[in-house]
């Protein structure tokens, strides 16, 4: 038992060995300070007293100690890739985490990632400008040149990161761009193969169809015919509203909704063909459109009539009193198709 206990203690000792300082002036001391500040901060917070100021101060102190620890430790044991020390970039990453707290929001995340190369350059350059007593150093010409080169390379890295975010913004603002394939692009590579992106034209047409249904359903047939006669202006208003309700509203300008010139008659009613053409950027011969058809039919509904006393009248040849009202059926989901819509190829622009 005693033996086991001792063995356990030795085990812990070897585990803690790298954390415990040999001398006081070392990075392990700073690490312990950082952990201590964090501990005190949690202790203060858990007492329940409302003291945000102290907690903030202590956590910030902890962060500062931690950043310094990382810097110092990497200074003593540099991490090298092909003989080139990447320590400043690691310290820079930790410093960015402290300065920007990128987990809070997307903007902060972007700032952190964009500034990372520049802050790392600062970390790299600082010891070359000042010594431990914060006095200005004289730099040799070759150091200066290396510094200029590193700064430029890191600016280039930042530009690439910014460009990446710009592309992400485009894809987010105009999600229907993802319908095309990026294979030919000389700038970006799409890691998701065989992406089955549904363009926003589908929800757009669904929205329009829902509005049309709402406007026409159960309306008297003569009003529906009048509506259909003036469909151009009516659909324009509906389209404008539907575009505003899109998830990515910037895309509205790239969708061109066509008003059918001819209505296809069916039985007593009509087919209303709706087309939404994507006019934005696509891959070559990757143009597409979205189509949806609504059936607008009249039905005879018995008019709500007051029960009449004279039953003879109903038994004659006359049909029972009815009114023609409208049924709109936009059954199937809108379909996305490759190529140009027929309407567009007919020059209906």
């Amino acid at each position: 038992m005693q033996n086991l206990f001792r063995g356990f203690r030795d085990e812990i000792k070897t585990l803690l060995e790298p954390l415990l300082p040999d001398k006081y002036f070392s990075y392990q001391t700073l690490l312990l300070l950082s952990l201590f500040s964090l501990l005190v901060a949690t202790a203060v917070e858990s007492t329940g007293d409302d003291n945000p100021w102290a907690v903030t101060l202590l956590t910030n102190l902890s962060w500062i100690f931690f950043v310094t620890t990382v810097w110092w430790a990497l200074e003593e044991h540099p991490i090298k890739v092909y003989g080139f020390s990447i320590s400043p970039w690691i310290t820079g990453a930790v410093l960015c985490l402290f300065l920007f707290k990128p987990w809070v929001s997307d903007t902060r995340f972007r700032w952190a990632l964009t500034c990372w190369p520049l802050i790392s350059t600062g970390v790299l350059a600082l010891p070359k400008f000042v010594d431990w007593e914060l006095k200005l150093k004289n730099r040799s010409k070759s150091t200066n040149k290396t510094l200029v080169m590193t700064t430029l390379i890191n600016l280039l890295l930042s530009s690439w990161i910014l460009f990446h975010f710009r592309v992400q913004d485009w894809v987010n603002n105009y999600p229907s761009l993802l319908v095309g394939s990026f294979d030919r692009s000389a700038f970006v590579y799409d890691f998701e193969r065989g992406r089955e992106q549904q363009s926003q034209g589908v929800p757009l047409l669904e929205e329009i169809a829902a509005e049309v249904t709402e406007e026409l359903n159960d309306q008297p047939w003569y009003q529906t015919e009048r509506w259909l006669y003036t469909r151009r202006s009516r659909l324009e208003t509906i389209t404008r509203r539907a575009k505003e309700s899109l998830d990515a509203r910037n895309e509205g300008d790239f969708w061109q909704v066509e008003v059918p010139r001819e209505l296809r008659p069916i039985e007593d009613g009509y087919f209303l063909d709706l087309f939404a053409n994507w006019t934005g950027p696509t891959s070559r011969d990757g143009s597409f459109y979205v189509q949806k058809t609504c059936r607008i039919l009249p039905t005879d509904r018995p008019r709500a009539v007051l029960p009449q006393t004279g039953t003879d009248a109903t038994q004659t040849d006359e049909p029972p009193p009815t009114s023609r009202s409208t049924v709109v059926d936009c059954g199937e989901l809108a379909v996305q198709r490759q190529g140009e819509s027929q309407q567009a190829s007919q020059g209906e622009r």
């Binding site: 080169m149 460009f163 990446h164 692009s185 000389a186 700038f187 799409d190 300008d253």
Partner: protein
Amino acid sequence: MEYEPILPIRTIVFQILFLMVAIVIEAGILRQRLRLGFQTSVQYALVTNLATVVAGWIVFLVVEPLASASIREQIISYVLFDNLLVSGWTTRTGFLLFVCAIFVFFLAFFIKAKGLEFMLRADDTWKFLAPRNKKPVSRDDRYAKARGGASLTQASIPNFTDTVIQANAASFSVILLLLLLRAVAEEWTL
């Protein structure tokens, strides 16, 4: 915000490739015409080209959000789909692209010339290169020049601006050639 797994890998690869090509060509020309050392000329070419590229990125990143919707549409189309002709090739787009190309060329030239001058000054080699910093050319020299043969001193001082514009033109031409080859290869494979 959700991020799509779309990364500008090709931008990075092409940029590194073109930078290397430009640096090799320009370093060769600088070495030959300015009589700089091998390492020095590579270093100068590297720094000037990096500065040019960074300036270009800054211009793009600043201009793109300010651009009008139609121009942004063209930019997106070109970047994502390698397709510059959304609404057909017009004289206006052609002219615009031409003006942009000329502007880019001269901006690159300006940055490279200034950067090179700055670095030469820092290395104290500028005074050996710039003839205007020397005392006026002697009468004999002018006479020799008029007679057709350049004097020894002048022969060793080739025109600095001339060199930079030559280096710039050479690297631009080769990169354009590479782009052209890429376009041809893409047409071929389709």
